[in-house]
Amino acid sequence: MHILIDLYLTFTKVGSMMFGGGYAMLPILQREIVDNKKWATTEQLTDYYAVGQCTPGVIAVNTATFIGSQQAGIAGGVAATLGVVTVPAILILIIAAFLSSFMDSVIVAHAFSGIRACVTALILASVVKLFKGAVKDWPTRIIYITVLLLAAAGNFLAAPERLALVWETITSPVFLVIISGIAGLAIRSVQRSKKGGGEE
């Protein structure tokens, strides 16, 4: 199969299973992209998510664009992006015609209580895998814990009144990702100068 068609169809499949937004896509991506297609390793998937979280746009779409373009350049990025939005767009067009009756259905509500619980478990399973690949030593453990605490505080706690702007900044994914990148750079260069004594 031509790579562009393969990318489009694979991401159409991923897009049709993406219940619960961008993070819920993670277990599906691990299965389809890492295990089945071998288009990326678990570490690369984490990298793409990092970029997806600090660039404009929807994380799910950004990740699809990234993987597609790594496989087949610009055309690959476009094919994967179109693939991932196809099924959601068609479904919404159908639902838009009878929106209220869909939402009022008791059966749909029960089904989604079950799905939400399941998606929580699947994301947890993905996080365990990503954690093993990304958090391996003390510096990364410290980055992980610091970022988790700040991001969770930003999600769950209201901003202190006077410091609202500062609070929103230091708990935003963009800020946390950029600072962690700088920290990674700093830590690696310190490690290297200790080891090599600056012989490079």
């Binding site: 937004g21 979280q53 404009p56 959601p88 939400r116 619980a117 994301i123 994914p173």
Partner: protein, 186 residues
């Protein structure tokens, strides 16, 4: 022309919303009040729909607003508008990273980034878990944990991580859980 306007308005939403689906909501609510394409009530409905269909909220809202403003072509054009800016930006970043893949600097940056990425996903997981497993109302009183959901999630996690069932595609666990939800009336 309405199609061109839809495309550019959703381009703007796609360009400024950083950090995923929920980040688009303030921009969408501003867009709705400026253009009258959709009301805040419709936006709230759409957030609920997005929680229960595959697909990110930003995409869903663009499709829906475009549809209400200009029919099926409107829905398609708005969706393309929303993904257009990030498509360009990611293509540029991906090209840059390919060029510098062997660079020690890029490797060091991702050494830190990767840990932060997993931490951000963990934080998002906590939010999902709170909605799915906690603060459930039963007969008028709010319970801290919604036990049927906690048990279901635990069973899925153990089966998907530690048993031979891990070979099964995740979508079957999702379908199974939907059936459990309906049968138990969760």
């Amino acid at each position: 022309m309405i199609y061109i306007r839809l495309f550019f308005e959703f381009c703007k939403v796609g360009l400024f919303a950083v950090g995923g689906g929920l980040a688009t909501i303030p921009f969408l609510s501003d867009l709705g009040s400026r253009t009258g394409w959709f009301t805040s009530g419709q936006l709230a409905d759409m957030i609920a729909v997005s929680e229960s269909t595959p697909g990110p909220i930003g995409i869903n809202m663009a499709t829906y607003a475009g549809y209400t403003a200009a029919g099926v072509p409107g829905g398609i054009i708005s969706t393309l508008g929303l993904v257009f800016p990030s498509l360009i930006i990611i293509l540029i970043i991906a090209g840059f990273l390919n060029k510098f893949r062997e660079s020690r600097v890029v490797d060091a940056v991702f050494y830190g980034l990767r840990a932060a990425s997993v931490a951000l996903i963990t934080a998002a997981l906590l939010q999902v878990a709170e909605i799915a497993l906690m603060n459930h109302e039963v007969n008028g009183t709010t319970q801290l944990f919604y036990w049927p959901a906690v048990v279901l999630a635990s069973v899925v996690f153990v089966c998907f991580s530690y048993t031979p069932l891990r070979k099964i595609h995740p979508i079957f666990f999702i379908a199974f859980s939907a059936v459990v939800g309906i049968v138990l009336g969760m």
